[in-house]
Amino acid sequence: MKNLTLRGVTKRFGATEAVSQVDLEILAGEMVVFVGPSGCGKSTLLRIIAGLEPVTEGQIEIGGRNVTQAEPVERGLAMVFQSYALYPHMTVAENMGFPLEMQGLAKEEIAARVRATAETLQLQDHLDRKPRALSGGQRQRVAIGRAIVRNPVAFLFDEPLSNLDAELRVQMRLEIARLHRDLKATMIYVTHDQVEAMTLADRIVVLRGGRIEQVGAPLELYDNPANAFVAGFIGSPRMNLIPATAWRDGDRLRIVVPGGEVPFRPAGPMPPDGAAVQLGLRPEHMAVTGGVPLPAICETIERLGAVSYLYARLADGTTVTAQVDHGLAATAIGGQVGLAPDPSKALLFDASGRRIA
């Protein structure tokens, strides 16, 4: 098992920098998820690791060996594509056996390894079928099987669940998690879905504009985001980021938000008086009362079954989300509600989004 190291990896397409100075160490056996909005560079970074895109600057090492200029096959990596990329004219067995054929293995050994892998993925009854005769989930498993037979150093997944329906996506997510546990393999997984990131990752790499915003375990990113972007991206519904001003009050701060104030005890240095800040609070840390301290107009209530969310508008038009009881009456919609933030759970960001407390 080998570590994978990226040092100063940069990729430019003409004048556009798609990936910028990425330094990352992926430990052997780890499941690392690259997550971010569309165009953040996560797929480009994955393709660079795979060897499908050359780097503009920087270095890639696998197990201490410099593979920056190496062909994809020389890196010992296997990739599962978003579109599955199954060869449509080949059977399931031929698809899974193709990489082994390219390695020059004997037919008997190829057949044995394909059969063994097919059995772990419940594909043994479909080996003679072509991809068009399979369901979406089966095709996904064939694509994964084609990667597994190679016994690679690491698996690369490029948004593998994007083409599946919601129910199948949950099922396949569990299968991928099980595979990771069983194979104990290094996996690099790209997704734009932060739920997939939170549920699958040992560590999440949040990317924006080609740069790493934060790297950490899922709950670490959830509870301790480095900036407003990570705070808003991780977690669903997203964290409330309320525009405010900060005023010193002894060793505390008075965070003045539209319609009221929230006391705040910063752990680090105090911002200057009157500094423009953003108050961050997760929906589950925003209670709903009958009146003050933060008056808001209830716009809608989403009842998801296990949990309900109230969406309200503050005096300055900022929309805030609060997790509420099922019992909250629908007549609350359009009426005034009081939002009670939990100051002990609040986070503070400066106007540019940098975390200050």
Binding site: E71, L77, M79
Partner: protein, 275 residues
């Protein structure tokens, strides 16, 4: 889509019109090849034959060099289409996937081959083949036919390759397949309709080619159908029965090819056009 009765009638009449426009000449040629000479030249032409004879075919096949011409045309046609396909596929892949200087310019420039009528390059080509000692050699016709079929064939194959998702090639690269293997094992099986289209196009172009065949081939036993047959007709004055029989036989290989792979040819044309 429900169509009104008048529209359906109009559609039927239009289809019938084009069917007759295209089909009637073929019927005239084929039915005439089985008529007795006096019926062929009768003052009142007959759409449905009143007589039947195989004498024209017998004369064509037994008493003329037509079978030799047919064989030569088949050799040249098949060799040209195979060579065109063998060259067009890797060339199209290079233009489509590989990066090299002036790629786009060269891709457009190859179509300039069709800007000049064949007669303009006839003399230089004759001189070239004369220096190579290839005059009066079927190989010369194969080379010329392939040369003129290639630009359009490359252009058409590139369009077909563009319909193949890039993911498939990248998956094959990740699986360790080198470029020639990707082309042979992954891409070619998926562009077979395109290959059929290119092959048929090259065959038909070669089959009907007259200009270079008339200049580069001197011996009667190496002539192809268009040139040799013209000689037969000229030699025997205008033997209409012989003419119609020869024309009917000349259509036959093309009809056979289309009956075997015509569906691929049609889908190949449209697949390449629409993504």
């Amino acid at each position: 889509m429900r169509r009104s009765l008048p529209l359906r009638l109009l559609l039927a009449v239009t289809i019938l019109f084009f069917l007759l426009l295209i089909g009637l000449p073929f019927w005239w040629v084929i039915s005439g090849s089985f008529k007795l000479p006096q019926e062929i030249i009768a003052r009142e032409p007959t759409l449905v034959p009143h007589s039947f004879t195989l004498q024209h075919y017998a004369k064509l096949l037994d008493a003329s060099a037509y079978p030799t011409y047919l064989l030569n045309s088949l050799i040249v046609g098949l060799a040209s289409s195979v060579l065109t396909v063998l060259l067009a596929v890797p060339a199209a892949y290079a233009f489509f996937r590989m990066e090299f200087p002036f790629r786009e310019g060269m891709y457009r420039a190859i179509l300039l081959a069709y800007a000049f009528p064949g007669v303009i390059v006839l003399i230089p080509i004759y001189g070239l083949f004369a220096q190579l000692g290839l005059v009066d050699n079927l190989l010369a016709l194969i080379i010329v036919n392939t040369t003129f079929a290639l630009p359009f064939s490359i252009w058409m194959m590139r369009s077909f390759l563009a319909t193949i998702p890039r993911d498939l090639e990248e998956a094959a690269r990740m699986d360790g397949a080198p470029t020639p293997v990707i082309l042979r094992r992954i891409l070619v099986p998926l562009i077979l309709p395109g290959i059929a289209a290119v092959g048929v196009f090259a065959f038909i172009s070669s089959w009907t080619e007259y200009l270079f065949a008339s200049v580069l081939i001197l011996s009667d036993d190496k002539r192809t159908v268009p040139v040799g047959f013209a000689g037969i007709i000229g030699q025997y004055q205008i033997d209409w029965g012989l003419l119609l029989a020869g024309a009917s036989l000349a259509i036959l290989p093309v009809v056979i090819i289309f009956s075997l792979i015509g569906r691929s040819f049609v889908s190949g044309l449209t697949d390449g056009a629409v993504k």
